[in-house]
Assembly symmetry: C2
Homo-oligomer: 458 residues x 2
């Protein structure tokens, strides 16, 4: 999961909040799974039962994590993931399995290192920020700022450390919301005042000297300077020194660079609709991850939700009314190339809804949706058998381009309170995923897709 | 804190356990602070009050952590810590402040890296084990073993990964107890069968891709092979691959080497006894730390307990009956050079007790002690005003040599449930120390020292 530059997750606008209050029914108040199945079979219940017995969900996630590993968009590992995704869909007997071309930029981290050189010589646990330029070595005194407002002429020739004030009681999402602004825009804002590099404090609830990565956006009007995240403990160290009147010096070495454009693909497979095959219910996740950890929660779990939901639906032997189209997107993490390419190629088609699972592999908690009041009312009726509360919010980064065309967007939100401790870190690994929660996510995705594909006309 | 090679912490022998049951009185059952003070002043209560108001405790720990930093024995930072320790004791007006020469070996980590090269290319979060030899680069398939018993001819030419079975419900100390055997002896046991390097799984309760360090012991009869700790997530990854029949390959590069012997010193300062100055109550901590993190809990907090206890006692303006001698030891972490040198230099003196604080800066929980039944009975009576339960256990690594000469040994144990998550890691940093708990540790140390120095004859 990537979040937008102002750090808000999910809630789109004030009107959404107002309507959201009407729609956010507790799960218990909703009708239990029933009625939606055509004929004597209760197909949502069958999907739940097959998801509950789904061993392949875990095996496939283990394969993706352990055998393919982290899969930065455009990297050799990503290309292996693309081949695995399409082979898996073919193995499952899906319809119209294909690769849809996407061009993406390959960013390469290379070796990297940040060393405090004064007053103490010490390696700083760090990760370069995705898309950052590299440096053979830049060393300078560090100026600590708490906000963009504290930037000024004093940063000229210096390394800026963004160490924002975060309320101690703030949860993971709120902390991430504070930090992500500096990660995204900190480099260019400091460069505009002559800084030579930037460091950004990681802001998880729990840190064990944990560095995170993510993407930045260079302002084309400014010089590109290197940028890295430092673990909270080490940002605090430098900040304490600054408060004590002691200037820390840091040397930053990063081999980070762009390796240029790479031709790759969104992986697409379908369960073809019988009654209205031209109407599309898109279910998606992003196949890429950051290049650290294993991308187990972000977004390996979402990939499994999608491919397993498709497999279980196909295996029922009953075609849905509409076509359910699974898409494994390219480069959600730093460019949304797959989401944009999908929109460009498919905007003329009739999408009744687009769903994305990109909040990790925790137990399903709620659905976030954005659309017109009529779309949302339709959704509310259709997804009752999913058994999850509904609230307003972003469906997901990959489906934002098509959502902007007016398509109803739905995102799965899960119960994963420590998500922002491991998000974009070396610790986003398979051991952090609970197999039962993963199966529950498959069930939610499958039932949701089935319901959307069979609900009455919007 | 370093623990002994079989991983037991604190409990010395079966007889101790039996007697321990008699001595482990709950704090509430002990008499409150009173009576022990000579004259109308209640000196233990005064010490508690001054400790409760002690701002210098935190300021000095911050100085040690932030301005001196991690201080591996014999390193330039350690030598600065020695100078700081003796200057601080002089500033506080202690008696007979001096440096007592100790020779220690300086181990240097240098740069290091472990990379999984197959089936996925990925950096493994790791730390070389202290005292390990380096390697310009060794690459080999990995053989996973769960125990020493699983070693065999199959490890010849391979890298051994020790991934011991640990009960999921095991706490930090128990997990550490399992892991430390492999950290200490794993290299030589694998080398005996032809292995080329070893990796040991870190075993904290919580891991965020966290590597730990510590020391190993080479068997002189075996070839020295390099050894490193890998974060739990990455050990599990390799183990899952092995179970799936997939051989992982790892390349290990370590610049680790010995930089030879260094002349350094235990830092000693006293509050001279008035009545029986030749009788010594030793209170100590170790001034060295590992070279990662800041050594805040291990053993910066203990150093502060000792120097602040001495300062507060001295500041009362009342001499104790016996001499209270503070010692900041050299190289507890990988050689106990300071503890051995102290014993060699002072064994002829009359020590009534030796106390060490080396379990971190958490709130005081209990005292562990080892000695004869008569010594322990004396201790029990003397330390009632400390208000902590007493149980059998090791006093501490630095005072073990003198304890073996028959001196009563006492160790402070603190409430720090996450200690083994940060122990010997980059995350043992100042932010993990609670200022109030630190002051409480100063109070416990000061009252204990005062009581031992003024109790009736053993």
């Amino acid at each position: 999961m990537h979040t937008n530059r102002n750090g808000r997750i999910g809630v789109d606008h004030v009107a959404a909040l107002l309507l959201g209050a009407l729609l956010a029914l507790p799960a218990a108040a909703q009708t239990p799974p029933a009625a939606a199945a055509p004929g004597p079979r209760n197909l949502p219940a069958e999907l739940r039962a097959s998801a509950a017995a789904d061993r392949l969900a875990w095996e496939r996630l283990a394969y993706l994590c352990d055998r393919i590993g982290p899969r930065l968009a455009g990297s050799p590992a990503f290309q292996r993931a693309v081949a695995w995704g399409s082979a898996t869909m073919r193995e499952d007997g899906l319809d119209a399995v294909r690769l849809e071309p996407v061009t993406t930029e390959l960013w390469v981290r290379g070796r990297e290192r940040a060393v405090m050189t004064a007053p103490v010589v010490h390696d700083l646990p760090m990760l370069g920020i995705g898309e950052s330029v590299g440096t053979p070595g830049v060393e300078a005194p560090v100026v600590v700022v708490r906000s963009f407002a504290e930037l000024g002429p004093k940063v000229e020739g210096k390394i800026v450390l963004y160490d924002p004030v975060i309320p101690p009681e703030a949860g993971g999402g709120a902390r991430y919301g504070v930090y992500v602004r500096f990660r995204a825009d900190g480099a260019s804002k400091a460069a505009a005042l002559g800084a030579v590099a930037v460091l950004v404090r990681a802001a998880p609830v729990h840190s064990l000297a944990t560095a995170h990565t993510g993407m930045l956006r260079y302002d084309p009007a400014q010089r590109k300077i290197p940028a890295a995240i430092v673990a909270a403990e080490y940002a605090e160290w430098i900040t304490r020194l600054a408060r004590a009147g002691v200037e820390a010096r840091v040397r930053l070495e990063m081999e980070a660079h762009s390796a240029g454009n790479v031709e790759t693909a969104n992986v697409v497979g379908e369960v073809r609709g019988a009654a209205r095959p031209q109407e599309i219910v898109l279910i998606g996740a992003h196949l890429d991850s950051w290049d650290v950890g294993q991308g187990a929660h972000d977004d390996g779990a979402g990939v499994i939700h999608v491919i397993e939901a498709l497999r279980l639906i196909k295996a029922m032997g009953v075609a849905p009314a509409r076509t359910i189209r699974g898409v494994l997107f390219v480069n959600e993490e730093h460019g949304s190339d797959g989401g944009k390419a999908y929109e460009a190629a498919h905007k003329a088609e009739s999408h009744v809804a687009a769903y994305e699972s990109d909040s990790g592999g925790g137990a399903p908690l709620e659905l976030a949706a954005s659309g017109t009041p009529a779309q949302l009312a339709w959704l509310l009726a259709a997804v009752k058998p999913v058994g999850l509360p509904l609230r307003f919010g972003s469906g997901g980064t990959d489906i934002e381009p098509i959502a902007r065309d007016g398509v109803l967007a739905v995102g799965l939100r899960v119960d994963l309170p420590n998500y922002f401790d491991i998000h974009h870190t070396q610790a986003d690994t398979l051991d952090k995923v609970d197999p039962q929660a993963l199966r529950d996510g498959v069930a939610a995705t499958a039932v949701l897709a089935w319901q959307l594909a069979n609900a009455p006309e919007p």
